[in-house]
């Protein structure tokens, strides 16, 4: 799925990065970064309510280039700065994790497992 289309589906606001022509195939929902670090999948979207700098660091280490913050969590200036440094697309939505996941699953995004 095209990242621009994905962002529109969950009514998200981009706070860092440029979705340009990125393609996302799978998504993983977790507030636990320890679990995110066990995933070895490319073209992955991370859906999380964990809004702190370590969310961005985790994505950096795991080669995740797109993060959706749910439940109206807001990215801090530090998160936005680090996301930009790592060429990561960070976007926020007010809807819940379940709601966002449901919309994206219905639209064809695949689970990791």
């Amino acid at each position: 799925m095209n990242l621009i289309e994905l962002i529109e589906l969950v009514n998200a606001k981009i706070v860092a990065g440029n979705p340009d022509h990125r393609i996302i195939e799978k998504a993983f929902c977790s507030d636990l970064m320890s679990d995110v670090l066990t995933i070895d999948t490319d073209q992955l979207l991370l859906i999380t309510g964990m809004a702190n700098v370590q969310t961005i660091r985790t994505a950096e280490m795991a080669d995740i280039h797109a993060i959706l913050l749910v439940r109206n969590k807001k990215a801090s200036p530090d998160m936005i700065k680090l996301a930009k440094e790592n060429n990561l697309v960070l976007f926020e939505t007010s809807i819940s994790m379940f709601h966002a996941a449901g919309k994206l699953y219905t639209a064809g995004l695949k689970p990791v497992y």
């Binding site: 320890s34 679990d35 670090l37 066990t38 370590q54 969310t55 950096e60 280490m61």
Partner: protein, 140 residues
């Protein structure tokens, strides 16, 4: 042989991951396979977060040769009482603060073991812990 040194401050979650990030950038510059880089930096990041989460302070030394990367993480702190137990998925002594940062689920050490070729843990209660992680680079 290239050697990188980092000082890690215990409890400082703002900077946690800085060392791993620098190592990742260096490995990219050395044109190492991206799948291999991911495994190396995930192991290192887990170790770095462990120092921040559990120790007073620590040092990370990364030695890169054409064949091998060796990462030595030494910390001063409470140490690990039972290493066998610490290696079990789900076992954790992390504080509430660490859990609020999205860690402390007892996945760190098992995930390090999964991502490197060799892991050695030495620890003395009340003194500190030394992790040595080795990953082969030449048969990527």
């Amino acid at each position: 042989m290239m050697t990188l040194h980092f000082h890690i401050e215990g409890g400082n979650f703002t900077n946690a991951g800085f060392a791993s990030s620098q190592v990742k950038k260096t490995l990219k510059q050395l044109n190492i396979d991206s799948g291999l880089i991911k495994k190396i930096v995930i192991a290192l990041y887990e170790g770095e977060v462990n120092i921040v989460a559990h120790a007073l302070k620590g040092e990370i030394v990364v030695e890169i040769s054409p064949e091998t990367i060796t990462m030595i993480l030494t910390d001063e702190g409470k140490g690990i009482d039972n290493i066998e137990l610490a290696m079990k998925e789900g076992f954790s002594t992390a504080s509430q603060k660490v859990r609020e940062m999205g860690f402390g689920a007892g996945m760190g050490l098992p995930n390090i073991k999964k991502n490197v070729d060799q892991l050695f843990i030495e620890s003395t209660v009340g003194v500190g812990t030394k992790l040595t992680m080795i990953k082969q680079l030449d048969h990527a």
